[in-house]
């Protein structure tokens, strides 16, 4: 059946449907298309409204009150912008935002560099590349919390494999490799696990980017006698850039929300050097039970992610159009 033929049939059917009274049409063809469309889409939208949008609106409301979830019967007072003022003037929260920014920066930098390099190498299509690619992809499919918990064991200075391997290579005694207990090392301990888990993610997207570059562009460059270095910077990187940026966007959003892995590895410690925004938020909401203030912080976070993501997507679209 050709397309033009089918559209003629469709038009004829539409004309018939319009000419037929609705009740009769229902008897003949079952429900009308419009009814089916809404019937099909409505349940998913309703669920999202009930479990995503309604809570978000509720959080906005709570952020203007002094409500405490552990005292549900206490009178609720409207405090205006008080919560927002406190959140934005709280040095601890700014500290947490800074910590989060550091994590996002370093994890994305490492994951992009290593992920792209791996993708570039896998794109050489050596023997067995499909098998090894699958092996590399395993960590990102696992539960960050469950695996993060086990990494705590690997990091143990006296008994863990990590400290042993480091001391074997560098000669530093294992008692000095206190990855989780040392204030300057603990953030890196998390960066290492996150990089281990999510480099494959960036690699996979970069690989798709590299495979999308048509061979004839390289052939043309070869005819023009462009050096491999020149080809890499003038063809490979710019052509793969939209994909790399997409990976950075997805990883950025995810790492901004980072919670499970940090909770299990350090719980925010030692002191509060690894206390990222979600952990501060969790403490305010479920330990201090300052529901109103926590909601204000949640809204600030959401607006920050949403705003940054939107600006970034605009940049991404510009790169795509080039």
């Amino acid at each position: 059946m050709t397309i033009s033929h089918s559209s003629i049939v469709e038009k004829a059917a539409d004309a018939t449907a319009r000419a037929t009274p609705a009740s009769f049409a229902r008897q003949v063809r079952g429900l009308s298309d419009r009814a089916i469309a809404w019937l099909f889409i409505a349940p998913a939208i309703t669920l999202l409204l009930a479990i995503n949008i309604f809570p978000l609106i509720w959080a906005v409301y709570l952020s203007f009150t002094n409500y405490r979830a552990n005292r549900p019967n206490a009178p609720i007072q409207n405090v205006g912008l008080g919560n927002y003022e406190r959140v934005l003037n709280d040095p601890d929260i700014w500290q947490a935002m800074q910590t989060t920014a550091h994590f996002v920066f370093w994890t994305i930098l490492l994951q992009t560099v290593i992920g792209f390099a791996l993708a570039y190498l896998i794109d050489r299509k050596f023997r067995g590349h499909a098998f090894w690619t699958t092996i590399i992809l395993i960590p990102m499919m696992l539960s960050p919390a469950v695996v993060g918990n086990f990494w705590r064991f690997l990091y143990e200075p006296q008994i863990g494999l990590f400290a042993y391997a480091v001391s074997l290579v560098s000669g530093i005694p294992t008692s000095d490799v206190q990855m989780l207990g040392n204030v300057s090392l603990a953030p890196w301990a998390i960066v290492i696990v996150d990089t281990w888990m999510w480099t494959p993610y960036v690699m996979l997207i970069c690989l798709a980017g590299l495979r999308s570059i048509p061979d004839y562009i390289y052939e043309a460059a070869e005819v023009d006698r462009a050096s491999p270095w020149r080809q890499f910077w003038s063809i490979t990187v710019p052509m793969a850039l939209p994909f790399i940026m997409l990976a950075v966007l997805f990883r950025g959003i995810e790492n901004f929300k980072m919670f499970d892995m940090v909770t299990l590895l350090t719980g925010g410690g030692p002191g509060s050097v690894t206390e990222v925004a979600s952990i501060t938020l969790k403490r305010a909401a479920f330990e201090s039970w300052a529901t109103g203030r926590a909601s204000a912080f949640a809204i600030v976070l959401f607006v920050a992610v949403f705003g940054l993501a939107n600006i970034y997507v605009r940049a991404l679209n510009k790169v795509k159009q080039r």
Binding site: S6, V9, G30, R34, I36, W38, L39, F40, I41, P43, A44, L47, I51, N52, P55, L56, A59, L62, A69, P72, L118, I122, R124, F126, H129, A130, W132, T133, T134, I135, I138, P139, M140, M141, S143, A145, V147, N149, F153, I159, L161, Y164, W196, Y201, I205, A208, E219, E222, L246, F250, K257, F259, D260, L264, S278, K282, A285, T291, F302, V305
Partner: protein, 316 residues
């Protein structure tokens, strides 16, 4: 180079392939070390698991698995001598350490919770997602692009940001710490992914198939059921596995909204404690059992992986 001259100019030389292969294999092996170590620890005895230097050669022991499935109490040798002979391997292993089995541990119920919640929410998400995706793919829905973006943007929210009102809402509705509550929550999170992925898959099925069926006298719903659904099976299966993996691995909501009855395995496994701290072989055993289904799915899914993790934004 001469061996390669017959190939196209863009074909990498044999040497560069070898070097690339060696580096990638080395990276893959390093990546695997923590996973292999989890498995090895799960079959070590507790003293072996914490010996220094870390033991690579050891006598395998099922103690970790025994400790995972049971709770034990330490008893005096006299009391243990007075007990009847041990029944089964676990009993024997436990007695050797002057302990008796006090009863089953919480691992099995928590694992069952994970299964129920992951499969329940996956089924619902895929069901709702398939309907919505078909709706968006085949009908002219007003504001379709805005609705689709709205569906996607629900995924950007940090889980903790919505956890507070959901916690309050669930408390009002009596859904806190219930499997149903968790199923609904994970369904809501997964339905966005399901709609986006399935819309891509359904868009690829030619409309002509349904139109032909409708000309043959099928109604729209019959055409959907008998023509489109069978064609979309692969896509639906892939989507289901992605939803399953998310619900299986999720920790933040599970840790904040469940405490007992409906707790899933991810918040439970880190709390497995032996005498004086974490019982690492038991934790490793729990982790191993928990990771196995995902390993299988990863291998099954490798072709669709890219689509799933990028919401179908990138196709391979």
């Amino acid at each position: 180079m001469s061996a390669n001259s017959a190939h196209s100019v863009v074909e990498p030389s044999l040497n560069s392939k070898r070097i690339a292969g060696a580096i990638v294999v080395l990276y893959a092996l390093i990546t695997l070390i923590p996973l292999v170590w989890i498995f090895l620890t799960s079959i070590k005895s507790p003293p072996d698991s914490i010996s220094y230097p870390p033991k690579i050669v050891f006598t395998p022991s099922l103690e970790g698995y025994c400790n995972l499935f049971t709770t034990r109490t330490r008893q005096t040798p006299d009391y243990i001598a007075s007990l009847p002979a041990p029944v089964g391997t676990c009993d024997e292993v436990t007695r050797k350490r002057n302990m008796v089995i006090a009863g089953p541990s919480n691992f099995v119920p928590r694992f069952v919770n994970s299964l129920v919640i992951a499969f329940g929410s996956t089924f619902l998400a895929v069901f709702l997602g398939t309907l919505a995706a078909y709706g968006f793919s085949r009908f002219r829905v007003p504001l379709a692009d805005d609705l689709l973006f709205f569906i996607l943007s629900t995924r950007m929210m940090p889980p903790i940001a919505v956890a507070i009102p959901i916690y309050l809402m669930y408390r009002e509705l009596g859904l806190s710490d219930t499997a149903l509550g968790m199923i609904l929550l994970y369904t809501a999170v997964n339905v966005s992914l399901a709609v986006w992925l399935l819309k891509g898959f359904i868009d690829e099925i030619p409309r002509e198939y349904e139109e032909a069926a409708m000309i043959d006298g099928y109604t729209r719903l019959q055409a959907f059921r008998k023509v489109v659904l069978p064609q979309a099976t692969t896509g639906i299966a892939a989507t289901a596995i992605f939803c399953l993996i998310f619900a299986w691995n999720e920790y933040a909501f599970a840790a904040l909204l469940t405490s007992g009855e409906a707790q899933t395995a991810p918040p439970f496994i880190p709390t497995i404690i032996g005498e004086g701290g974490q019982d690492w072989p038991a934790v490793a055993a729990g982790t191993t059992i928990f990771l196995i289904p995902i390993l299988v799915f990863t291998i099954l899914l490798r072709k669709q992986l890219l689509r799933g993790i990028t919401f179908g934004a990138v196709r391979k």
